[in-house]
């Protein structure tokens, strides 16, 4: 049985017919070709698939595409304001070498942005480490990810994003 879904992804209206069991991450990757959102586990723990749904971070492997009819979804591909300008969080990740293999990075960046906003742009190291509970990285040892998020918080505030 297929179900029709329509939602806004990265500012564009998209629609498609999906199986009832199709996860949001499958819809993004397989139907829309937005392969920046990654799948790193089967148990909703690694966080590589985090996207924003209606402004909040969500693991796109934990929600069905058909639950999101009418929703506004932002993925890593839709984050940078233009081709030559990155979001302050992306920029902070680059400045602080907060990524190595790049696989966890999209989820990390999406989680980190939500974290900064939820904490009203005010973070300390302990909070960042605790809040990263839902995102695994095997390369960086988290040191530079934490540094990047702490650097991005004031940058996001002054950029008004």
């Amino acid at each position: 049985m297929t179900i029709s879904v329509a939602m806004t992804v990265n500012g564009k209206s998209v629609s498609g017919k999906v199986e009832a069991r199709t996860l949001l991450v499958q819809f993004l990757r397989e139907h829309l070709g937005l392969t920046g959102t990654h799948v790193g586990c089967d148990t909703s723990q690694c966080g590589a698939c985090v996207v924003h749904v209606d402004g909040k971070s969500i693991k796109s492997c934990t929600i069905l595409a058909c639950q999101l009819d009418g929703a506004k979804v932002t993925t890593i591909e839709g984050l940078a304001p233009s081709a030559d300008k990155l979001h302050p969080m992306q920029e902070a990740f680059r400045e602080n070498h907060a990524l190595q293999c790049g696989f966890c990075t999209p989820g990390m960046v999406m989680s980190a942005i939500d974290m900064v906003k939820r904490n009203n742009y005010q973070l300390d190291e302990k909070t960042v480490r605790r809040e990263l509970e839902g995102n695994l990285c095997r390369c960086t040892g988290y040191h530079n990810i934490v540094k990047a998020i702490l650097a991005a918080a004031p940058a996001m505030k002054s950029a008004g994003v």
Binding site: Q90, H97, R138, G141
Partner: protein
């Protein structure tokens, strides 16, 4: 230009733009028209005979294209997977080499062993159909317990009686025994190096396509070494000639060793692509990664250290049983021998060392190289026993180490276990680490912690590693089946920009940046005009790939050699253009000059002349600027360092918190400190993970993998570790052109011993002398309460 982007500069990474914007291309991301999807049915039993497989119902399921079983591979006379390193046992006999079928034929030997491959129009349809395959198993007794493997446990393979793969030794036991007879003190240690599951964040994946028109196969694989994978598939397993098989390892999301090896799934996909007639894709679910990626470590060791009355080491004896799992993975046999026992001198002058290593089979996933591969196990033995000896002798652990360090003047230093350390200077490293860690202030911090009810401890780990794999002739003498050189090609385009083609492979190591820095520095080409190409057997020269911290020391050296050839050729072109003698031409900052004159030819001009050779010495010189080099190292490289870990243990709960962790390393010259720091951070956390959190556990009754998901296998998370304090000391490597050592594995090699020594130090007031690794709250609590 080069000051900002050359050797030593903290250049931001070229690869980041695509990874930060979601435009990286990993294997699973590939859009392949008409693709089918594979799903592998795996054994639910640790050991069973397959009585029958009925695929008839599954074949009729929606979307199913084809189903293959071991019978199909046998009918096709497919070769088995190979172990590429022949270790000779103590009697000179080659190790036992039981067959490793790509698909189980009549027996399954671990939970996860490959039983059938379903190809369907979608992943979900393939998975649904796999559930409909009926396999009739006759369950047989199994053993997952390494300690019992050689004591009459059920046999894994008839070809390896008693489950023994080899009984290997290094050193002369009688000489070491004689040293022990003279010892004033002997410290004894029994430890288990816990089994780990690598867990690169990108699961293993493959896609294969067959072109009927050309007869060419293409395999996309999450490989750390696409050329080696192709060689194995071509020469040993599938018989597809190398020139008809292209292996592409695009962006790969971490490897840590687990993606070196040739696995069943990519082999089956390649083979089946021509039979199915459509591309086939497969990506491991995380549960499959846990079950079937080659695991790491898993040693049971007894060690003894003999000391004289002043604390000088007289001899070291080590007995180790190493778990191979159910089949021998690609380089498994070398890990607990030549990458382990040859490192047992550590940083010390221990004059006599004897090690006996027995490799054993169990009904578990294959075990092979994982970040550090043998060297973390060696470091854990040495650094645990040295710290234990210090405690027994009531000596400061740093002082006992310093007393036994190989002195600076002794390099090159021949160890009693085959290696010759090329360079090093260890005392300044430990001094710097103690300064950064504020060792002097530790007792005050311990007292303060005590006032809060916490037990604070400090632990040292002074590691040595041999990496930069490796001098080919040495590898050949030791039984390795391949060369260990690396290749490079520097290909200028007519307009002066450059492609560096390397046989190394980056799966997080940042080669696109580091290698570009080397060439920018050496040839004066702006960084943005350099592109690094890797990971495709059709475009890059044959190379050995990336593992064993070899990419820079060996691959970077090949790039330097190729750059030297560019300069040599450029000098001839420039001499022609300047009407000067080649001998008078010098190359500085990207410009050829005639010394003492104002004549000059920028490299770009020489390159252009080479491609548009209107005014060019065509009689003596070929046109073009495209230089190849192969570099075979003269020796391993020997990074060394000291880590100091400080922990607090909560005696009520057994919880261990890492409060501070310091690492001071000698990696030789450093190309990009930002990238090196990142490598060290990540390595330390994998080491802390091993020490405190991670453990691959099989149920001893059923052989089921109990730690088979992120709910059961504790990966280090951000709040499990602190930020780190790093420092460097530099003794350049004397035998490679960059003076570099390797930094990829050091963190993971040193950290487990540093953490465990800190835990033991913290527990001294409670009289605890041994906590098993990982020091989980349960293990610590039980150690405190006498195993209750």
């Amino acid at each position: 230009m080069t000051a900002e982007t050359g050797i030593g500069a903290r250049v931001k990474r070229k690869e980041d733009q695509r990874f930060l914007t979601g435009t990286g291309r990993y294997v699973d991301d590939l859009p392949l028209a008409r693709a089918t999807y594979a799903y592998f049915l795996r054994s639910p039993h640790a050991h069973a005979r397959i009585k029958s497989i009925d695929t008839s119902k599954a074949k009729a399921m929606p979307g199913v294209v084809e189903i293959f079983t071991g019978k199909d591979t046998a009918d096709a006379k497919m070769g088995g997977l190979i172990c590429g390193w022949v270790v000779k046992d103590k009697h000179g006999q080659p190790h036992k080499a039981p067959p490793h079928p790509v698909m189980a034929l009549d027996t399954v030997r671990y939970v996860g062993d490959t039983v059938a491959m379903v190809v369907a129009n979608s992943h979900d349809e393939a998975k649904d159909a796999a559930e409909a395959i009926k396999v009739d198993y006759e369950v047989k007794p199994s053993n997952v317990d390494l300690a019992k493997a050689l004591k009459g446990a059920p046999e894994v393979h008839a070809e390896a009686p008693g489950n023994l793969i080899y009984d290997w030794e290094i050193g002369v036991k009688a000489d070491v025994d004689a040293a022990f007879a003279k010892a004033a003190h002997v410290t004894k240690l029994d430890i288990v190096n816990n089994r780990l599951i690598p867990n690169a964040m990108e699961p293993r994946a493959a896609a294969a396509d067959y072109d009927r028109g050309t007869g060419n196969y293409t395999l996309w694989s999450t490989s750390q070494n696409p050329h080696v994978l192709r060689l194995i598939l071509s020469a040993f397993v599938l018989g597809i000639p190398e020139h008809k098989l292209r292996v592409i390892a695009p962006d790969v999301g971490g490897g840590f060793g687990s993606k070196i090896f040739c696995y069943n799934e990519e082999t089956m996909l390649t083979w089946a692509a021509s039979r199915v007639g459509r591309p086939i894709k497969w990506t491991a679910e995380r549960a499959e990664s846990f079950m079937t990626d080659a695991h790491g470590r898993d040693h049971v060791t007894h060690a003894e250290l003999a000391l004289d009355k002043d604390g000088k080491f007289l001899g070291l004896k080590v007995d180790t049983i190493a778990n191979m799992g159910a089949y021998l993975s690609t380089f498994s046999t070398a890990v607990p021998t030549y990458l382990y026992a040859t490192l047992l001198a550590g940083q010390y002058t221990t004059p006599l060392i004897y090690a006996n290593v027995k490799a054993a089979l169990t009904h578990t996933a294959p075990v092979d190289a994982y970040r550090g591969a043998g060297r973390p196990e060696a470091t854990f033995v040495i650094e645990s026993i040295v710290s234990k000896a210090a405690k027994e002798l009531k000596m400061d652990p740093a002082e006992l180490r310093r007393k036994n360090f190989i002195p600076k003047e002794a390099f090159p230093y021949q160890t009693p276990v085959a290696l010759q350390y090329d360079s090093g200077n260890y005392p300044p490293i430990i001094d710097e680490a103690m300064k950064i860690a504020d060792y002097k202030g530790f007792e005050a911090r311990r007292a303060e912690a005590k006032s809060r009810g916490k037990l604070r401890g400090i632990g040292f780990s002074s590691y040595i590693e041999a990496c930069g794999l490796a001098p080919s002739q040495v590898i050949g003498q030791l039984g390795g089946g391949v060369g260990q050189w690396e290749s490079a090609q520097i290909k200028f385009n007519p307009t002066g920009n450059v492609q560096i083609l390397t046989g190394a492979h980056s799966h997080g190591q940042s080669h696109e940046t580091t290698f570009a820095q080397i060439v920018s520095d050496k040839l004066g080409v702006p960084l943005e005009q350099i592109e690094v190409v890797h990971g495709d057997t059709a475009t890059t020269p044959f190379g050995m790939g990336s593992y064993g911290s070899r990419s820079l020391a060996v691959g970077g050296s090949a790039i330097m050699k190729a750059a030297d050839k560019v300069i040599a050729k450029g000098k001839k072109i420039a001499a022609h253009l300047m009407e000067a003698s080649v001998a008078d031409v010098v190359f500085e900052n990207g410009v050829f000059k005639v010394a003492g004159t104002d004549k000059n030819v920028p490299l770009g001009q020489a390159v252009f002349a080479a491609y548009v050779p209107h005014n060019y010495p065509l009689q003596e010189l070929e046109p073009g600027m495209d230089e190849n080099a192969f570099y075979d190292p003269a020796n391993f490289v020997y990074p060394a360092g000291t880590q100091i870990c400080e922990v607090e243990v909560d005696p009520d709960t057994g919880t261990v918190e890492v409060i501070a962790h310091t690492a001071v390393d000698d990696f030789g010259n450093i190309i990009n400190p930002m990238i090196v720091e990142g490598q060290v951070h990540g390595g330390i956390v994998q080491g802390v993970g091993q020490a405190l959190l991670e453990n691959a556990v099989y149920d001893k009754e059923t052989g089921q993998l109990m730690s088979g998901s992120y709910m059961d296998y504790t990966m280090p998370r951000a709040d499990d570790v602190p930020s780190f304090k790093l420092g460097y000391k530099v003794t350049p490597c004397p035998h490679n052109p960059l003076g570099v050592k390797g930094c990829g594995e050091a963190g993971a090699i040193a950290a487990p011993a540093a953490v465990m020594n800190a835990v033991h130090d913290a527990l001294v007031p409670l009289g605890v002398t041994h906590v098993p690794m990982p020091a989980t709250p349960l293990n610590v609590w039980q150690a405190i309460h006498g195993g209750k």
